[in-house]
């Protein structure tokens, strides 16, 4: 009877808890021969997020890791400037780590970080594929403080891998590895308002410098980053509000947020309002619900987005009471929640995060729930 034992093969792969390698010992020879067959019992689910907020705990990542169950922290004992976040179920890696040119190199060549020439897509593809197949990798680390590449860190395959950066969907091979892809599309006015809020307290920055910075990056952004929108399964588009007439709200506080979801994506059922496949315009404020200015307006519809069929849910305005949030949640369908009120609970849990009272928080939370649902469906299938 042949003996089978689980064995870690040191040569080609590093031991990962998620996968196992089986060693076959053949009895027909005089000496033991070993043949290693790698069997992945669980392949990692890979999610791609394209966003321009740099590497670090962005609000979207915090909400996502919260939905997936657990705080995400940089790997313990590693580089303190690591861009990676690890939680119980998910690991978030920042694609800036795959820079082929460091800050000095980019300056010498006159290349922005948005330019694909500054990235090593081959290595990105190799490593994401390796993690997806259950092998641990030594991923380079890009130190944002010094602007140089630090020694690599070990990444063991998690249950869910999130790759976050500007070029998550740029390379075709990496795109094929993604189980779900999300693009955060911030319109220019909102981007300016947010960057002003972020940078104005900094010594050295002024409105002009912030504006100049956005404008200087715009050509590369439009050329390399924007086109990724067409490949995304879900796009969260943030626009200025339409509820305040005239010059409106130029501080970017009231936002109109659209969640554009591609139809026909495996394990991903688009959210809808009332009646799937119809067009709905809904103002929940009225007799049953009282809202303060400027109120809330929802829209749901379908259409085409870069040639794909999509469903679009849109929210304009702000929540200012818990009631409004629950009321809205009651009327949305296909949210992939596990219990009634889960969206509201998640939003309240992080009421101090930016966007907790408008569509950005709502749709980020919903996308997080969709990702959890996708992961559970994939796992159930195995």
């Amino acid at each position: 009877m042949a003996a089978f034992t689980a064995h870690t093969s040191a040569a080609t792969s590093l031991y990962s808890p998620a996968g196992t390698a089986i060693l076959l010992r053949s009895r027909s020879r005089a000496y033991p021969t070993t043949t290693t067959i790698r069997v992945s019992c669980s392949k990692t689910v890979v999610i791609g997020v394209a966003a321009d907020s740099g590497c670090g705990k962005s609000t979207f990542m915090r909400r996502l890791t919260s939905v997936l169950g657990g705080g995400a922290e940089p790997p313990r004992g590693g580089n303190p400037n690591s861009n990676t976040l690890v939680s119980d179920t998910a690991t978030v890696i920042c694609l800036d780590d795959y820079h082929s040119l460091d800050r000095a190199g980019r300056k010498a060549k006159g290349v922005t970080a948005l330019d694909p020439r500054a990235h090593d897509f081959d290595l990105m593809y190799e490593q994401v594929r390796a993690i997806k197949e259950g092998r641990a990798v030594e991923k380079p680390v890009y130190n944002h403080v010094t602007g140089r590449l630090d020694p690599p860190e070990l990444i063991t395959p998690p249950e869910i891998l999130v790759i976050k950066g500007l070029h998550s969907m740029y390379d075709e091979r990496v795109r094929d590895l993604l189980d779900l892809s999300i693009y955060l599309d911030i319109s220019n006015e909102v981007k300016f308002a947010w960057k002003v809020q972020r940078d104005m307290a900094e010594r050295g920055h002024s409105l002009e410098s912030i504006r100049a910075s956005i404008e200087a990056r715009k050509p590369d952004f439009d050329a390399y980053i924007e086109p990724q929108k067409q490949y995304a399964d879900a796009v969260i588009e943030v626009l200025p509000t339409q509820l305040i007439p005239g010059p409106g709200d130029d501080e970017g506080k009231v936002l109109r947020v659209k969640l554009i979801m591609k139809e026909g994506v495996e394990h991903f059922a688009p959210v809808y309002l009332f009646d799937e496949g119809s067009t709905v315009n809904w103002i929940p404020c009225g007799r049953k619900l009282s809202c303060s200015y400027p109120g809330i307006r929802f829209a749901y519809g379908f259409g085409a987005y870069f040639g794909h069929e999509v469903s679009v849910v849109e929210m304009d305005g702000q929540f200012d009471k818990l009631d409004e949030l629950i009321y809205v949640e009651t009327h949305l369908s296909n949210l992939s929640t596990k219990f009634y009120g889960e969206v509201a609970q998640q939003m309240l849990k992080h009421a101090d995060f930016p966007g907790s009272n408008n569509g950005t928080g709502l749709f980020q939370t919903i996308v997080g729930l969709k990702i959890r649902d996708l992961y559970e469906q994939i796992v159930a299938r195995r």
Partner: protein, 123 residues
């Protein structure tokens, strides 16, 4: 203790106010209004930004302004401003990290909002 009480009351009001910047409500921050134009730099340092990043940021801004003064719209100009953006993002993340780790109660409550010390009452 006072800061604990303040932080317990903040979430209730955050939800009510049309506020995209709840973090800036902390009483210890001095918030200068944004309405300055004409090449003025706001003089307050982001109080929590580590000084080395803050210095790097100011330097990179000066450098970018210098590079773009000569030749606007070139690749070098774009690269210089992109550099500024990268350092600004790093500064913002450093501030967030410092803020997160500054108050042990806040840190604990973030992970355990249901415990008695961290409960938030809405009335």
């Amino acid at each position: 203790m006072a800061s604990t009480v303040a932080s317990l009351s903040i979430p209730a009001t955050t939800f009510a106010a049309a506020d995209v910047l709840p973090r800036r409500k902390a009483a210890s921050r001095v918030w200068f209004p944004v309405a300055r134009r004409g090449g003025f730099s706001v003089r307050s340092t982001g109080p929590a930004t580590p000084p080395d990043i803050s210095d790097k940021l100011s330097e990179s801004i000066k450098e970018a302004e210098a590079t773009c003064a000569d030749e606007k719209g070139t690749a070098e100009c774009a690269a210089a401003w992109d550099n500024v953006e990268e350092i600004s993002a790093a500064a913002s993340h450093a501030r967030d990290n410092l803020k997160e780790n500054s108050d042990p109660l806040e840190k604990y409550c973030k992970d355990n909002p249901e415990t008695d010390e961290c409960r938030i009452y809405d009335n």
